[in-house]
């Protein structure tokens, strides 16, 4: 199987200490007020039944197999990198149109306020190049986040994938109407389950796809047919000329 970087997260180990948020912010110079990852706490209120343990859910971009953000990107600046399975943003190709933002059910993306391009978790690509684990993974007090190639049973995350493949304890957190097949797996109870939104394709993109593209196809097609017809006539009726046309002075050649 091909490489698929991802995480297996044991949400029940999460203290909601925000170490992963802070580490990510520093490692990736995430701008003020923006976050590349999160901890969902559902409803942090004491329950009527005193014996309900809260499960905090650490997360981030899920590097989905069916990424709706990629479908919303006109230029291919956001794409699924087949070499490691990550969903990548090419900052130099991104035009900052922001259409991928509502297209992500997890709200994993933001538009960088200074660079003005889409930004999100890249599993710390620079740190990986330096031989380090993603910042959120290495800093986590309880090591709730386990990272690696999900398809490689020798990687830390792959080992857990293999170990729990049969016992049905691995969960993906998805919105039923936007099944993106995420690559963040939760071991056991993932905590809050119903927060992902339905992926929203921007109106301009839908208009492009459903109206503008067919309309342009039609107009160019009709015009093209006309040109073809003229060319056919020129080739089939070479002698045709208006009867009152005065003789030309001849061609240049």
């Amino acid at each position: 199987m091909s490489k698929q970087l991802g995480m297996v997260i044991d949400a029940s180990l999460c203290l909601d200490c925000k170490g992963c948020l802070s580490a990510c912010k520093q490692a990736n110079q995430v701008p003020e007020g923006k976050w590349r990852n999160w901890i969902k706490d559902g409803d942090l209120e004491p329950a009527a039944a005193a014996r309900r343990r809260v499960v905090f859910q650490p997360g981030g971009c899920m590097h989905c197999d069916q990424p709706t953000c990629v479908s919303a990107c006109p230029t291919g600046a956001t794409y699924k990198d087949r070499r490691d399975g990550t969903v990548v943003i090419n900052r130099d190709l991104c035009i900052g149109c922001g259409q991928c933002l509502p297209a992500c059910p997890y709200g994993a993306r933001y538009r960088h306020p200074h660079l003005r391009v889409a930004d999100k978790c890249d599993f710390c690509v620079q740190r990986r190049a330096d031989g380090l684990e993603p910042a959120c993974v290495s800093t986590c007090p309880t090591k709730a986040r386990v990272f690696g190639d999900l398809n490689d049973p020798h990687s830390p995350a792959g080992r857990l994938m293999k170990k729990h493949a049969a016992d049905q304890t691995l969960t993906q957190v998805v919105n039923r109407r936007s099944p993106t097949d995420p690559n963040l797996y939760y071991l056991g109870d993932p905590g809050p389950k119903h927060w992902p939104a339905q992926a929203k394709m921007p109106e301009a993109l839908e208009f492009f796809k459903n109206l503008v593209k067919p309309a342009v196809n039609l107009v160019v097609g009709v015009t093209g047919l006309g040109v073809v017809a003229m060319l056919a006539k020129q080739l089939l009726m070479p002698g045709d000329a208006p009867p009152e046309h005065p003789p030309q002075g001849g061609d240049h050649e």
Binding site: S22, R53, V117, Q126, P141
Partner: protein, 730 residues
């Protein structure tokens, strides 16, 4: 100069660098950089250097990732077992402390009125000459004890205390009388030493008066979670629904100041149902009979009325605790600056633990392990004849720790000028103005002083109200002595700091500052050594430590952990664990914890409690440009029923008022606190205008808290404040 929030970098010239490099790079890259030019790649190799975190007191070993002389990131040291190889949110934000544009850059002398914020820049020579002159003048006029010294938790605080001693003042305080000394006293006076909980192997924990999943203590916080993964049950009793409560198996919103009632009832059940460890108690404990008689009146039914925890639940919790013993514990806790009887409250914790027989055993309370570190370069204290007989804070608290003192008592004494005048105050790495309950009193104290010298890295409230402010170094710039650490089953270890980067601005380590002041006061011989000399003296008996520290960033002493007390006596009067403390009896104190019902706040009034979360370290971290995004300000937690009764709305501004003072604050209506209890985070509502991220943010709890005191230790009692909350005030 090194503004961390450099913006407007072109996307194509965007460098993943921070601080100076980013600022430098920004200058060279236009906003409209040519398209198609690839992002600049880091030009040089990432260098990794060990250091020790200083964002809280835990001192976690870390690895600084440095590129081109700029710290990019701090990572946990995976070999550091005490933290279980982690770095928390604050630890990660340490880079922002280093490159904080609000850092103090050079010595500053107050020009205007105290707290007015007018400063004159001085050279180091001018500043040190001035400080030496002032200290000398106070010494001559009021004796050397006329200068009060105070240092927070820091690997160089020892040098401030050393200076105080050689200068000749007994009046040296640590920050601990605003923190943990009541708990320390209670366990010391029960066990003869302060035990360290072995969280990793425990099976049942009752946590009261502690919030270990938010107020992180290594390795306890992490090991408790691991233990829970392995089946440990956690019971949390807290008036607030903290994250620790949320993660617990059982949670009870206990009525504030009734922890002792719960513990005495648990002892009642353990004794009456004979669930305690009979052999252990018979052999190693003193005073079971007295205890058994004492707790008869503290039945679960009685305690239920005090604590709001049903009697059958108290009974069940006691039985569950006993069933899991000795791998079970009442968590000793740490900060115990809560009530006037906090030492006795914590004594009740210690007693229940003793009954469980968990001492010196896996999953129980363990003794301090041998680390092997010595005290550094020794010195003989000079004697000054004209000094008074005692510390200024001597007397009111019979069991005060002389080496820690009591800020509460000292402050009152300074204001009163009795028993003798104190006119100088030298503060390092602690912020009594920001954290000391009853801020108005701290201001009053400062106003009676002739000379306040504060050594800090930023303009804290204490610095803001001082006469002379000296810039100290960020921990990442420092060479520090070795520091011993205890982690129960995790480790007994040593860490140390070497500079990760060159110091910025004119910041100097407090060691250098003390050395310079000592030389000016003709006391130079007491500081005639280097940090290297000091470390060498510290590690004289464990010479292998330095090699390990350089190689791994940490040295472990493989000393014995369990069974240390086999064939050994306890360092108490009875040589046993003192359920009944005869020394207390002889001093006229309660030899067993006697419960006194808490004051009822009264209709429409609330008890204001103090607490922590994993994003704030007392008052020192709030201005951090990263942490401020996670914790931008504070608000006042109030139960919806209470808010409805007062007609208060969520998000509206209210005035919270106590006899100590009042503050306007935003209201947060939440079921996460009891209807009779309100709460706010520490460290906002600052006086200082030198903390740019905190201007106009939140309210100061120190300004509202009344300054009660634990009667035995002089520990500040910060949970005895009764407040009113009224509409408006913004």
């Amino acid at each position: 100069m090194t503004n961390h929030r450099t913006s407007a970098l072109s996307r194509r010239g965007f460098l993943k660098l921070s601080g100076a490099a980013a600022a430098a790079a920004a200058g060279g890259v236009g906003l409209f950089g040519p398209p198609g030019v690839r992002a600049a790649q880091p030009t040089s190799r990432l260098v990794s250097k060990y250091s020790v975190c200083d964002m809280c007191f835990n001192k976690c070993s870390l690895i600084a990732r440095v590129r081109d002389g700029v710290v990019e990131k701090l990572d946990p040291n995976p070999k550091f077992l005490k933290s279980r190889g982690m770095l928390c949110a604050r630890g990660n934000a340490g880079v922002r402390q280093l490159y904080d544009p609000d850092r103090l850059k050079h010595p500053l002398l107050r020009k205007g009125a105290r707290g007015e914020g007018r400063w004159q820049r001085l050279s180091w020579d001018q500043a040190l000459d001035h400080a030496a002159e002032k200290l000398q003048a106070i010494a001559e006029r009021y004796t050397r004890c006329g200068v009060l010294f105070m240092a927070g938790s820091d690997m160089q605080s020892t040098f401030l205390h050393r200076f105080a001693k050689v200068f000749g003042s007994y009046n040296a305080l640590s920050h601990e009388s605003m923190c943990l000394i009541a708990g320390t006293r209670a366990f010391l006076d029960t066990y003869g030493e302060v035990p360290i909980p072995d969280m990793l192997y425990t099976k049942y924990v009752i946590m009261v008066g502690a919030n270990r999943f938010e107020s992180l203590v290594t390795p306890d916080s992490i090991d408790l979670m691991t233990a829970m993964k392995n089946g440990c049950q956690l019971v949390v009793l807290d008036p607030r629904y903290t994250r620790t409560a949320a993660l617990a198996h059982q949670y009870y919103a206990i009525r504030p100041h009734t922890d002792m009632a719960f513990m005495l009832a648990v002892a009642h059940v353990l004794i009456n149902e004979e669930l305690y460890d009979k052999q252990f108690v018979a052999e190693r404990c003193y005073g079971l009979e007295q205890l058994a008689a004492h707790v008869q009146r503290y039945s679960p039914e009685w305690a239920a009325k005090e604590t709001d925890i049903p009697a059958e639940d108290i009974r069940r919790l006691a039985r569950e605790l006993a069933a899991a013993a000795p791998q079970a514990m009442v968590y000793p806790g740490r900060r115990s600056s809560n009530y006037h009887d906090s030492t006795q409250i914590r004594r009740s914790f210690a007693i229940v633990n003793a009954l469980l027989g968990n001492w010196d055993r896996p999953g129980g309370l363990t003794a301090a392990r041998m680390v092997g570190l010595k005290g550094g370069v020794p010195f003989e204290e000079p004697f000054y004849e004209d000094n008074p007989d005692d510390r200024i804070d001597h007397g009111p608290a019979k069991l005060m720790f002389e080496e820690e003192g009591s800020f509460k008592i000292a402050r009152d004494a300074v204001i009163a000028g009795k028993p003798y005048p104190v006119k100088g105050f030298v503060v390092y790495k602690t912020n009594p103005m920001g954290t000391g309950a009853n801020r108005q009193k701290t201001i009053e104290m400062f106003n009676t002083l002739d000379f306040v010298l504060d050594i800090d890295i930023t303009m804290s409230d204490t610095a803001w109200m001082s006469d002379l402010v000296l810039p100290s170094q960020c921990y990442l710039e420092r060479q520090d002595p070795c520091s011993a650490q205890q982690g129960s089953s995790a480790c007994a270890c040593v860490v140390m700091r070497d500079p990760v980067v060159e110091p910025m601005f004119q910041a100097k380590p407090v060691f250098w500052i003390m050395q310079q002041l000592a030389r000016r006061l003709k006391l130079g011989q007491y500081f005639d050594f280097t940090i290297d000399d000091y470390r060498k003296a510290q590690t004289a008996e464990v010479p292998e430590a330095m090699t390990a520290l350089r190689r791994d960033g940490v040295y472990y002493n493989p000393s014995k952990l369990y069974g240390v007390y086999e064939g050994r006596i306890f360092k108490t009067r009875s040589k046993k664990i003192e359920l009944f403390n005869e020394t207390y009896q002889k001093m006229g104190l309660d030899p067993l914890p006697v419960y006194h019902p808490p004051a009822d706040p009264g209709q429409g009034r609330f008890r204001l409690v103090v607490g922590r979360n994993a994003l704030i370290t007392q008052s020192s971290s709030q201005n951090n440009s990263l942490l401020v995004q996670l914790q931008p300000d504070n608000d006042l937690w109030m139960h919806p029923a209470a808010a409805a009764e007062l007609g208060l709305h969520d998000g509206s501004y209210v005035m919270v008022q106590s006899p100590a003072g009042r503050q306007a604050i935003r209201l947060r209506i939440t079921r996460r606190t009891r209807p009779d209890t309100v709460y706010m985070h520490t460290g906002f509502g600052v006086l200082s205008r030198g903390l740019s991220n905190l201007q106009g943010k939140g309210a100061s709890i120190a300004a509202v808290l009344t300054d009660g005191m634990d009667q035995l230790t002089g520990n500040m009692a910060m949970h005895e404040t009764i407040v009113t909350v009224t509409k408006g005030g913004a």
